[in-house]
């Protein structure tokens, strides 16, 4: 006779196929959930496009007539900006602190009842969201930019598959970073502080405001190795515009994978520690 608990007993035998099917189902439901907000997606895409024009002109202004600055030529700048405006929504650099709200209200308790680990299930939902963002937010700026600016198209066969890998890793990494920011709500009542720090830091350190190679070389390298931020946006875009030779491109993606693995492991650790001290108000 086992005792009755609210928690579903963990499966005694691991079933990889079942796991993948569950994961896939959550990804699809994430896609469908975000695909309902069509007007919001349209409004967001228009804003991304307007900012694409603004940022593209600023970087072309920096490049001047001669045209090469910090290892980018004019066409590479254009690709960097327009792909970046789309990627911004795909990795979701700035999202609503949804998990933090669920922790504050206690709704998070229902997440803990599910037989899927919270980090895994939130990641699956976020991959679904990113999939919808590829259609609704990445395509518009990527299609509009080349109509008005000369863009750099990848010349090496390896670049596009490498970019796909790099962008996918960036989505996972950005999810992990946002999860950690949100998870501070388990300890703090008010996540505004961490949220503000993330919003400010991520934009400038990920390479959104200006390409990070504009900084001194040593500083750029230190940021890339010591912080996850450049791996969010700067790295996939550098891979796409072929700023470095193929070997360096692969190494950059390697650094990204390292950061994503480390941050995801940290997410699971933080979640385990949080569950031990979490007190959900009854009612």
């Amino acid at each position: 006779m086992g005792s009755v608990t609210a928690t579903v007993a963990p499966p005694t035998e691991s079933n990889v196929i079942l796991w993948f099917r569950t994961f896939g189902a959550i990804v699809r439901s994430g896609f469908r959930r975000y695909a309902t907000y069509r007007q919001a997606a349209l409004a967001g895409a228009v804003t991304n496009i307007v900012f694409g024009f603004l940022r593209c002109y600023v970087l072309l202004g920096a490049a001047g007539a001669a045209g090469t600055v910090a290892g980018y030529d004019r066409a590479q700048f254009a690709t960097f900006v327009w792909a970046g405006q789309g990627m911004l929504a795909v990795i979701l650099l700035w999202g609503r602190p949804e998990l933090a709200e669920r922790i504050r209200t206690g709704d998070v308790a229902s997440d803990l009842l599910r037989p899927v680990h919270p980090v895994t299930s939130y990641l699956a939902t976020d991959l679904g969201r990113a999939g919808w963002a590829c259609v609704s937010r990445l395509l518009p700026p990527v299609l509009v930019g080349p109509l008005f600016f000369d863009v750099h198209l990848p010349a090496r066969w390896s670049t596009v598959p490498l970019f796909v890998v790099s962008a996918t890793v960036a989505v996972v990494l950005c999810f992990g970073c946002r999860f950690l920011v949100n998870a501070t709500a388990y300890w703090l009542q008010d996540v505004r502080g961490p949220q503000i720090l993330w919003t400010l830091g991520s934009g400038v350190l990920a390479g959104l405001y200006f390409p990070l190679p504009f900084l001194p070389d040593g500083l750029f390298l230190a940021l890339q190795l010591a912080t996850p931020f450049p791996s969010l946006l700067q790295t996939p875009l550098d891979v796409l515009v072929e700023r470095d030779p193929t070997g360096v491109q692969v190494a950059l993606v390697g650094v990204q994978v390292g950061w994503a693995a480390a941050i995801l492991a940290l997410c699971r650790l933080v979640q385990r520690r949080a569950e031990r001290r979490l007190v959900v108000q009854g009612g």
Binding site: Y37, Q39, F51, V58
Partner: protein, 268 residues
């Protein structure tokens, strides 16, 4: 009657100030955090000038006058009326019905209901950037230029404020307008940070002269610096920004009045 109204508005503002300052640590975090966005706007310009000597034909000192005018005007307008961008939420939740029921003006109520005091720090920083930029730009001061240095940022505040109100009225017709307003308000801030000469073609025409953003920072900065316009407009154009701001305010007021009249509650 007018006295009563003023007292009612005063009560709204006082309640806001007390509630926002109640959580001191959060308020302090917000004060610091709000400076951040404008700090990074300035840092971005400095970093770009780290890799280039001039931007659109302007030096760093000259560009910083535009950055200062833009930052000061935007941050102050955002403090005073920026929260009108929450109108979509009020329309969606039906809170706007309650606002209309009270015997006070709808717009002042909305603005005073949550005047974001945490943004004070940002407005102060914007003003500081402008003062430093003006002091270091090597301007040959005359009484006229002193007057313009005072009038131009004020006109910029009115201009951006009008823009916040005008774009918010879209939510009377399209409840889920979401980020659309940002492309004009925050986009305008981005546009006015840089010399108009770096932009080109129809995009420049639309933003600079179609929507009037050239009069927030670029044209007044030319007049203050005593530079001829590379785009060929006459010198007096730098002095008309207050007039442009008044036109923008009139248009925004009209849009607001029409919008409120068209407002149909969502019923929620």
């Amino acid at each position: 009657m007018a006295d009563h109204r003023l007292r009612a508005y005063g009560a709204l503002l006082g309640a806001q100030a007390r509630s926002q300052a109640a959580y001191r640590a959060s308020f302090a975090v917000d004060l610091v955090g709000n400076v951040g966005a404008t700090v990074f706007d300035v840092v971005t310009v400095l970093v770009i000038f780290g890799v280039t000597r001039e931007l659109g034909g302007f030096t760093l000192r000259e560009t910083l006058v535009m950055v200062g005018l833009s930052a000061c005007a935007f941050a102050t307008a955002d403090l005073l009326v920026g929260n009108v961008e929450r109108l979509p939420a009020y329309v969606r939740t039906g809170l706007f019905d309650a606002v209309l029921l009270r015997p006070l003006g709808a717009l002042p109520q909305l603005l005073l209901m949550d005047l974001p005091l945490r943004k004070v720090s940002r407005a102060v920083f914007g003003l500081a950037v402008l003062l430093v930029a003006l002091a270091r730009a090597g301007i040959e001061w005359s009484p006229g230029r002193v007057a313009l240095a005072v009038a131009a940022p004020l006109a910029g505040v009115v201009f951006f404020g009008s823009l916040f109100v005008a774009t918010a009225t879209v939510s009377f017709y399209w409840t889920d307008s979401g980020e659309l307003a940002n492309s004009v308000t925050y986009g305008g801030k981005e546009f006015t940070t840089y010399p108009v000469t770096i932009f080109d073609g129809w995009f420049r025409a639309a933003f600079a002269y179609g929507m009037g953003f050239a009069f927030v920072s670029y044209q007044p900065a030319l007049a203050l610096l005593g530079r001829a316009d590379p785009l060929g407009l006459p010198a007096w154009v730098g002095w008309v920004s207050p007039a442009v701001a008044l036109v923008a305010a009139a248009l925004a007021a009209a849009a607001w009045r029409v919008g409120v009249r068209h407002y149909r509650s969502t019923g929620s």
